[in-house]
Amino acid sequence: MHCNAALIAPTFVTGLILGFIYALIALGYTMVYGVLKLINFAHDAVFATGGILVFYAFGQWFGIVQPLSGVSLVVLMAASLVIGALASAGSAFLLERVAYRPLRRRQGARLSYLITAIGASFFADYLYQQNFLLGPGKREFPNYFNVSKAFTVFGSVVQNVDVLIVVLAIACLIALDQFITRTRSGRAIRALSEDQVAAQLMGINNDRVITTTFVVGGLFAGIAGVLYAIKFGFVVWNMGFVPGIKAFTAAVLGGIGNIRGALLGGILLGLIENMSAVCVGAEWKDTVAFSVLVLVLILRPTGILGEGIKG
């Protein structure tokens, strides 16, 4: 193993930024797992939906082609984040309604949930891939946000979108943390995550809380989806797949079901991945990421911070 010393610091910064995106997506996995004890494998499709709908809204329907600035940029940026968040939340909602709730009613086995989730994920992905939607290739994301260099840290170029990612991710995490610990719905979610039956006996509407969980996870996934599309400048039908798996790994790494764990896991995974690209070689980075996952699962199956939604 030979690490290029000059590259370590810049890679650290890019890894950190990637980690924040992972963390945002990981929140969805972690919330659903905390409540239902179920891995929502369809969360990658939820993530993609946000970016793709904004692509349609501003790229196709409004036809925005040149970079904007000033107030119009702020408005458009806010609008796209809101649209993306709502689109993803809507798809998560739909997913819960169409796929998971009927299974819960029928008391499906664990395996059924997993298979259903895979089905939903592939349904959405390949629906996007059809020619009447995105088609098989990459589609350019409307470039209203001019991605450019903001400043340099440790010799690493930080783009303006990266700043946005970090700020929004931290804001989202604080908001979620407050939501879980301070609000009534948040308390209901915590109660459900501890004991479904007892929560129901205390008068909590389980179905409603589960829906809320999916929707909240979807909101963050949508924001991540839009940011991801802006950062990389394109949307593609399977854009959720790799980030989805990575985010899941991040959630497990930090302790699935644990919100702070999602942040920690996301950042750690982003760092590990980018560091391994420098030290082992970029072509092995997925192997390293998955090996880390396997190691964590074997050595500490509950992740670094432990499981369960906590206040």
Binding site: I39, A109, R110, F123, Q129, I245, D286, F290, L293, I298
Partner: protein, 418 residues
């Protein structure tokens, strides 16, 4: 969350409830069901002979195909589809053991198939000049090694990961597939993304009869698959009925209880992985020698999911289900493509659109028929724990051998009992 959207869905949900309750329980017409059961009994009475009969029937397919008996798939094209369906049946049977019998969700099953194929390529005289080989043996000699490598990989991936909780296994196996792809892409000996061409095809000579299997998917390729499929079927059936099969059922149903009863959990799970991997090793050998060129893109992650689709849709742990699933996933889309003449159907591309459709079908099957279309007999009442809506849950009553109640009674069991 009492937004208008939420209320709209509540409303929609309430409207859909009666539809959902009624839709799946279309009773099979009584005469058809009786005929079917009679046939089943006769078939079972044949005993071991039925494998020979099945092989004979399978051997009839290519000649019939040549005569144009099959509506769409005929000629060379039909033979290719037949071959694809054949090796797909092997894969489905293998994954059926893992998912259907032992209840372990393996999302990286095709990794074993990949290993079988690459082993074949690296143990025979294949590739462009300068290609690395472990040995340069005849094609047939590589067959046992394709099998062994796949099985050893089953142990290697199974031993550390099968101690994990069930849902983690899915992601780890997915990761294993991804790692295998990355390894094959990056290693020099596998020629990386350029792949390995010119894998030698097997040949047979018995006395004066000599046949070289070529690129042309002549019926002989199918005849090569028949014994493999029959052997795999025998293996799965014997295992299912054995102590091991009952162990698997116990693990699938309740791991803690099974372990308390003295079932060696990890050993049995690894065994399921290994048995599952074995058929894909064979399938890998047949596939590699048939297509004669393999590269990492021949084994995308999608393939693993498609095998899972055919296992689940066809029927978890049932032989007929595996065959049906393979036909649905491999042959039907090809037939549809042939029918549509390369055009899209309602905007869906026949080959990629099928995955979207299978995805939707997976959800529907899991909700309405959790055991798959042709559920294994033992499984029909499993996959669900009869709860408060007990009568509703066991929804396969119309398909069980001893009819408990007419189908009409079953769905009303939740409300009024007569």
């Amino acid at each position: 969350m009492s937004s208008p959207v939420y209320r709209f869905f509540e409303w929609l949900d309430a409207r859909l409830e009666p539809v959902r309750e009624r839709a799946p329980r279309v009773p099979v017409p009584e005469p058809v069901r009786q005929r079917w059961q009679q046939g089943g009994r006769l078939w079972r009475r044949l005993g071991p002979l039925r494998y020979l009969v099945a092989a004979g029937l399978m051997a009839l397919i290519p000649p019939l195909m040549e005569r144009g008996w099959f509506p769409i798939l005929n000629g060379t094209y039909g033979q290719t589809v037949l071959f694809n369906t054949g090796y797909w049946i092997l894969l489905t049977l293998g994954l059926g053991v893992v998912v259907g019998l032992a209840g372990l969700l393996d999302l990286g099953y095709v990794a074993f198939f990949l290993l079988g194929s690459y082993t074949t390529a690296l143990m025979t005289h294949s590739g462009a000049p300068g290609q690395f080989h472990f040995v340069e043996w005849p094609t047939w000699a590589a067959l046992p090694f394709a099998l062994i490598v796949a099985m050893v990989a089953g142990v290697a991936i199974g031993l550390p990961t099968l101690r994990l909780r069930g849902d983690y296994l899915a992601i780890v196996t997915l990761g294993f597939h991804e790692i295998m792809l990355e390894v094959m892409n990056n290693l020099g000996i596998t020629n990386g993304p350029r792949g390995i061409p010119a894998i030698p095809t097997p040949s047979i000579s018995i006395g004066s009869f000599h046949y070289d299997f070529g690129l042309n998917p002549a019926p002989y390729w199918w005849f090569l698959l028949i014994p493999a499929i029959i052997l795999a079927v025998i293996m799965v059936q014997r295992l299912d009925g054995s102590r091991v099969g009952r162990y698997w059922t116990a693990i699938r149903e309740d791991e803690v209880a099974a372990s308390a009863m003295g079932v060696p959990i990890v050993k049995m799970k690894v065994l399921a992985f290994v048995i599952g991997a074995s058929t894909s090793g064979i399938a890998g050998w047949i596939y590699a020698t048939n297509v004669t060129f393999i590269d990492p893109t021949s084994f995308p992650l999608l393939l693993s999911v498609l095998v899972l689709c055919s296992v689940v849709i066809g029927g978890l742990g049932s032989i007929g289900g595996a065959v049906l699933g393979a036909i649905l996933v491999q042959a039907v889309p090809e037939a549809v493509r042939q029918l549509s003449g390369g055009n899209t159907l309602f905007g869906f591309d026949p080959l990629t659109g099928r995955i979207a459709i299978f995805g939707a079908v997976l959800i529907i099957v899991m909700i309405y028929r959790p055991g798959g279309l042709l559920a294994a007999r033992r499984r029909r009442t499993e996959m669900v724990t009869p709860g408060p809506e007990s009568g509703v849950v066991v929804d396969d009553a119309s398909a069980t051998e001893q009819e408990v109640a007419p189908a009409d009674d079953v769905h009303s069991a939740g409300g009024r009992s007569t």
